[in-house]
Symmetry: C2
Subunit: 359 residues, 2 copies
DNA sequence: CTGAAAGCGCTTACAG
DNA sequence: CTGAAAGCGCTTACAG
């Protein structure tokens, strides 16, 4: 390893100016807007206009500057832009969904949308039940001035948070089962369609006694999934009776508990639509504890299609939610500031081994 | 909703100065370092010294300014500090671990360490196999100038990346099963201890024919876990024979495939140490397919203790890795620029229902 | 269509 | 122990 002291500087011979240092620094320094302006023979304001895609620039000038930007590999400093804009290039994902699979899938989708841009993804888990929830969110937005935030359920359903964000002039996109806000800031996941698909599937298999283990009633998705499910049954001449609907909490444990209740029903249902895959896994466990075999004794349909649902035994028939795609679209909406049709996201039934005709 | 146009401005009556606007803006504007300086009767440089915990400040001055900072709720603008420092307040988590549970747990740990600070967590999944991996990482660091990055395995083992980070003068903390770097930038997870615990447990249960399904040999953790395991067996008078070691890929599918090979061994092992929980789940599936019952016909010990491992049936005996705590410690090391003893992280055996004495 | 000046809210380098 | 000046790399507001 060559010594850094090969050419020792004699303290007495200090140069007047710091020219050598400047030259050395210049060699490795990344170019700034000033360098591009000088090399292009225009003002830095013009370079700025080109960076920001301003339409009022002469096309020849634009082409020339763009060429030099490409040649030098210049990329504007996000810190400096952020300071001048009074807005950072951070996109916040504020979430309270407890599922690791959901969170990571959505992060991947968001990242795919911002790849190659100056945007960065900042994660902010939260708990709406905490007394200082809104205060914390306010502090985050005021200090970081994020470009915008993405709100998956259930935090997307919080009107208090939406109000704070509007007050602080912070853009957002809300992801929810139904529209709760202006078209351009709302990505709708159409959970009623997913519920409907689950209902058609079980009814068409010939089941007559059908149950539903729902999520907590405070979630919008719960109502949507249930109503879509009930509508499908009705179309097939069946009814989802109140006593066959058991409220869970979207967790494995609640699925287990609801499974117990389910097996106590008379007549015992031959099929169940679980509000999500987590609860479906709990129902699997309950079935095993009761010596019941899936799907012979009970058909099960889940919701979400988490990667682990394929590994359940038997593999779970479920409604697939394209979580990564949802993240990608939501981020795109935020950046482009345009909405997508509310029909864009389509939950689809994924057939596996946990559902069959009744015995 | 009150109209915003209650007091319409007459275009002809425009005020000379923009005083009204300024006043209105001041009312809601967050205080800056200049406001604090003015209110405290000191220069902004002194306020800056206090923000940055400089020791060379008169204690009375410091107390007074701190009081005013507290009263006004002043928080320095991270964008401005970032620009002046030439370093942002972002902490990057660069990872290639495919497990959602691992990623989210670590994120939580990191977030708990930076809560209440100006630091924000930015996530950067990556793929070391991509040809432009190092180039992408370089671009990220050059542009964002993160305060530092956190490297969990296996990206933590990439010497090329570490070199690039050092070149760019970007602080990092590497999380790995053994020390690969200077003490202060290395968080060691002591996987050999975890392997040892697994080995003692199975040996003490009385198993004589014991197998190991390892992860891919390119991972450091694989060797550590295996060697610790083999050492424990040796201490108990047993030997981990080469033919009883099957190499997997840390995935469910590879666990399934390795399980098949495992059951073909003669004599058939009565116990297996899986390199991680994912592969243990695959072995479960293979056992079911072969009509073997766990733990009666095969004891299984995993590694990681992911939340889902409790839900396997029977629940999985495994070595618990405190992933959130690792994230918290790594972030703390990065911020404080100090190491922790290499013995800090202790993997611990967690006894559940998948291991018992041989028949 | 283009640019000179001022400013975003901080810190560094220097001087005292 | 403290401060005035210059600067970080951009954009806004204005003028032409």
């Amino acid at each position: 390893m060559p010594s850094r002291l090969k050419k020792p500087q004699r303290p007495g011979a200090a140069p007047k100016a710091r020219l050598p240092a400047t030259t050395a620094a210049k060699a490795k320094r990344r170019p700034t807007i000033n360098d591009i302006a000088r090399m292009s023979g225009v003002s830095k304001k013009t370079v700025s206009r080109i960076i920001n895609d301003s339409p009022v620039v002469n096309e020849e000038t634009r082409a020339k500057v763009k060429r030099i930007i490409a040649e030098t590999g210049y990329v504007p400093d996000p810190q400096a832009r952020g300071l001048a804009f009074r807005k950072s290039f951070l996109i916040g994902m504020i979430y309270d969904n407890p599922s690791a699979e959901y969170v990571v899938s959505m992060q991947k989708g968001i990242l795919s949308a911002i790849e190659g841009t100056s945007f960065q993804l900042v994660v902010r888990p939260c708990d709406r039940a905490k007394p200082n929830f809104l205060q914390d969110m306010r502090a985050f937005v005021e200090r970081q001035r994020p470009f915008g935030v993405l709100l998956p359920p259930s935090v997307s359903e919080d009107e208090g948070l939406a109000k704070v964000l509007r007050e602080l002039n912070c853009d957002y996109v809300r992801i929810a089962s139904v529209s709760l806000d202006d078209h351009d800031v709302m990505l709708v996941t159409n959970d009623h369609m997913g519920g409907y698909e689950a209902g058609r599937h079980l009814a068409e298999l010939g089941h007559k006694v059908i149950a539903h283990v729902s999520g907590p009633r405070s979630f919008r998705s719960v109502h949507e999934r249930r109503q879509g499910f009930a509508r499908a049954l009705k179309e097939c001449g069946l009814e989802l009776s109140e006593k066959n609907v058991i409220e869970g909490a979207y967790t494995f444990e609640s699925g287990l508990a609801c499974g117990e209740k389910l097996f106590a029903l008379k007549p015992r249902p031959t099929a169940v639509f679980a509000g999500n895959d987590e609860m479906a896994a709990g129902i699997y466990r309950a079935a095993r504890d009761h010596g019941l075999e899936i799907p012979r004794d009970l058909s099960v349909v889940g919701y979400d299609d988490f990667p682990t649902s394929q590994r359940l035994w038997p593999s779970l028939t479920t409604v697939r939610v394209p979580v990564a795609e949802i993240g990608r679209l939501a981020a795109t909406m935020l950046i482009k500031k345009t909405g997508v049709p509310h029909s864009e996201i389509v939950p689809t039934l994924t057939l596996r081994d946990s559902s069959t005709a009744p015995a």
